[in-house]
Amino acid sequence: MQIMSEIIVPKLNPITADLGPSPKNNGADSLIETESLSLSYGSNKALKNVSFKIRERVVTAFIGPSGCGKTTLLRCFNRMNDLIDNVRIEGLVKIANHDIYSPNVDVIELRKRVGMVFQRSNPFPKSIFENIAYAVRLHGMKKKSELEAVVEQSLRRAALWDEVKDRMHSTALGLSGGQQQRLCIARAIAIKPEIILMDEPASALDPIATSRVEELILELRKEFTIVIVTHNMQQAARISDYTAFFYLGELIEYDTTTKIFTSPGHKKTEDYVTGRFG
């Protein structure tokens, strides 16, 4: 088991408390945990008292109408909200049982362990090779042969290698939207994170590109813990193991995806997943 030993505690402490509303969780393998987490932008409360746990090596989907706080919550896990002025965070966010907002946490190290894929693909205006080698090089690997090996391996795992292997040194901006997004995924996994956060990774893609990204996510869940924000209910149903439903900054329901989509426990969840509002 890969654990975040360097930034954080040497060993995953077994969590004995039960994992919220899910009856199937034995609680031994939760990786991300929030305790009464509230966040506000100025006077606008985006998250209200969110407490839950995310298990290791599963795909967890965040669903909910626009403005419900799901992206905000996602961006708490790699502290991307730090970049915004006037953000106030209360409560705890723990990854591998370590408070990531405590002052002795190295944000750089945290972001190496918690990768992110954005809604709009954002490849650097560099070559395909350089896009992937960029962060690997920043984190200390300098030898060309090693870099080439990492780049190839990452592209293969992102199912992009065959499409780009003959044009590694041409610009990444020449790729199609779907390819660009898979390049961003390859770029994220190249530095070997444990968690990958995905913020509506397929919302700007056509159906074929979307299904390729979904296949990729199902492949990656064997090695990574994936948290994905999505507006697409079918997508959440297809690729996630657990689903959390948010509404107006509150966590309304969190359970296995099957339960959420077949017999949700809350009226609001049911209304949302059946398309009555949202």
Partner: protein, 314 residues
């Protein structure tokens, strides 16, 4: 129904015709002003621009087109512009990076700096000249002399020099570079910065490796604009480095220099026989225009090369 649409279309066509004509007229006006100025100068000046004129000095007779040359002027102006570019680019780029990437846009300090930059752009150039004389020549140069050559009465640093003239011009063109750089930095999508930061890059790494390479063409636009301005400005260098006449080319940055634009002023005001000097005046202006165009053109070429490289990468 049909008639209303017809009527509307007609009305629109008349308005459209009128405004197209008006904008076209304005364009023609601007082009003809430019054509008259440049045409007149080249018509009268170009016949006198010879190889001897370009490579000759001013030592024989600086007011006679048959004997005078412009080499010291070309050398002086080129050196001045290049030194100015070297000084202004780093300071301007770093200031712009601070303002867009680090400073909080609402903070009092940021607003103060922005206001200062805008005011700097509005200061008349002769004020920069006096500032350069007071600050660079007398204060900085004088202090350097007192420190480095305490027993020497003659000035080494504390005299008008190409170094001080370039620095004065750099101060004057600073707002141009800052504004151009800021604009190109703001045009870079925030997603690129987030993408880099989310990979565990520090802010500085993100700025150096992702943001600045993207902003390079915009930075060069700032450089081009400031070169265009610096090559032709006389007031800031009048008291800080430009000389009426020098027997030899400047050998170090602490030497004074001869400048094309300043020389044009001298030729048009100091000649005893204006009719005899007129052809020389035209020819000198031709050289000044060509030199400014060339310096600009080189910068434009560099920028085009960089844009192409960014697009193709191969």
């Amino acid at each position: 129904m049909k008639s209303t649409r017809y009527f509307r279309a007609e009305k629109f066509a008349v308005g459209s015709f009128f405004f197209t004509g008006l904008t076209g007229l304005a364009t023609v006006l601007i082009l003809s002003i430019l054509a008259v100025i440049v045409g007149n100068i080249f018509w009268h000046g170009l016949p006198y621009v010879s190889w001897r004129f370009i490579t000759g000095g001013t030592e024989k007779d600086m007011f006679d087109v048959e004997k005078a040359g412009v080499l010291p002027l070309i050398v002086g102006t080129t050196a001045k512009v290049m030194l100015m570019t070297i000084f202004v680019l780093p300071v301007g780029v770093i200031t712009a990076v601070y303002l867009t990437e680090y400073a909080r846009t609402t903070s009092l300090l940021t607003r103060f700096i922005r206001g200062a930059v805008n005011n700097l752009a509005g200061v008349p150039s002769i004020v920069f000249g006096l500032f350069g004389l007071g600050f660079f020549v007398y204060f900085v140069g004088g202090k350097l002399d007192a420190f480095l050559h305490p027993h020497d009465a003659s000035p080494h640093w504390g005299q008008p020099a190409i170094l001080w003239a370039s620095l004065t011009l750099a101060v004057m063109t600073l707002p141009v570079v800052i504004v151009a750089t800021e604009e190109s930095l703001r045009a870079i999508p925030p997603g690129l910065r987030e993408g880099s930061l989310a990979l565990g890059a520090t802010k500085l790494q993100t700025i150096i490796k992702v943001v600045l390479p993207q902003a390079l063409p915009g930075i060069l636009t700032g450089a081009i604009l400031s070169i265009g301005r610096a090559a032709g400005e006389v007031a800031p260098i009048l008291m800080t480095g430009a000389a009426y006449y020098l027997a030899s080319l400047p050998k170090s940055p602490t030497d004074p220099f001869m400048d094309l634009a300043y020389h044009v002023y001298i030729l048009s005001t100091q000649s005893v026989n204006i009719e005899r000097t007129k052809p020389l005046l035209y020819a000198t202006i031709v050289v000044l225009l060509l030199l400014t165009f060339t310096l600009n053109f080189v910068a434009v070429l560099i920028r085009a090369h960089m844009r192409k490289k960014m697009r193709l990468l191969q």
